[in-house]
Amino acid sequence: MSGKQRRSRWMGVRLLALVLLLYAGLALAGSPGVLPALHKALEILKTLLPILAVVVIISGGINYFLKPKALAKHLGEESGLRGWMIALGAGVLSHGPMYAWYPVIAELRRHGMRDGLVAAFFYARAIKVPLLPMMVAYFGLDFTVLLTLLTLLAAWGQGVIMDILPARQEELP
């Protein structure tokens, strides 16, 4: 386990302890929302487990199949238009909560994925293809088309700005 992973794990343990204390405190205070909150949390966990299994397979696959040279070509400094298309497309098509994708993204960054593409990926996740018919039903076709196009544009714009900002100095996982 790297130093970064160890720090990350301990931060997680501390936060988990804090959350458990919060639940315990609310339960002791007799707050009626605790049991529903626990029930909701368990439901989320149930939904998340298959997604995490997919994340493990993707992360393992990235390490096994993708070599640094290929990754640099597709998502690195010289990836160009192809890099943007991959990041935006992957963002639009990815499912599950954002935090489930952190391990995959951390792995890709470790292999040279540009921060701009990471930012574009995360923002493009606002577009949920399976939910587009529902958005049309609630807000109209013109709203849906406009918001989708502007979201993609904003995702790309954020990526461009992120790439312009000085290179990261922080430690990578």
């Binding site: 989320i44 966990l45 998340l48 391990p103 951390a106 606002a126 992120m162």
Partner: protein, 145 residues
């Protein structure tokens, strides 16, 4: 990565599984917080913070979307209900966008996995993008409709 070439596919899967295991305390903590938010922050509480002013509502919609957590589908349903209750489209657009792209609850995990500086920059950019996209979307719609 030359050393990694000898690692088998199952070996890589095992490494990836361990990475997720190391993150499990953080993931469980986030899930616990999401449960609390979903249980304690109601639709009425969300609706009560909007006042009809476009600037105020866009900003509040973004902040509310940052705080509220859950499946994207819930944000559409909530957004639709808020719209019916007379909340402006500026606020609802910002709310729906911020729901998926920003998240206060998952900030510690993002910072811990991807770095504090990256998290700070990305979320700041996403915050302003959400406001900008919401305002432009509604302004263009007003011209179009």
């Amino acid at each position: 990565m030359s050393g990694e070439k000898s690692v088998s596919f199952s070996g890589n899967l095992k490494q990836a599984a361990f990475s997720i295991l190391y993150m499990m305390p953080m993931i469980l903590a986030i899930i616990g917080l999401v449960g609390l938010f979903q249980s304690y922050i109601t639709e009425e509480m969300l609706a009560s913070v909007f006042n009809g002013n476009a600037v105020h509502d866009t900003l509040v919609g973004t902040l509310a979307g940052m705080v509220a957590v859950g499946q994207a589908i819930v944000s559409y349903i909530l957004g639709g209900e808020l719209l019916k209750e007379g909340v402006s489209l500026y606020a609802v657009t910002a709310f729906v966008l911020a729901w998926v792209t920003l998240g206060v609850v998952q900030l510690p995990m993002e910072a811990s996995v991807l770095g504090i500086r990256f998290t700070w920059r990305r979320n700041l950019l996403a915050f302003f993008s959400t406001i900008l996209v919401s305002v432009i979307t509604v302004k263009l719609l007003e011209l179009w409709r």
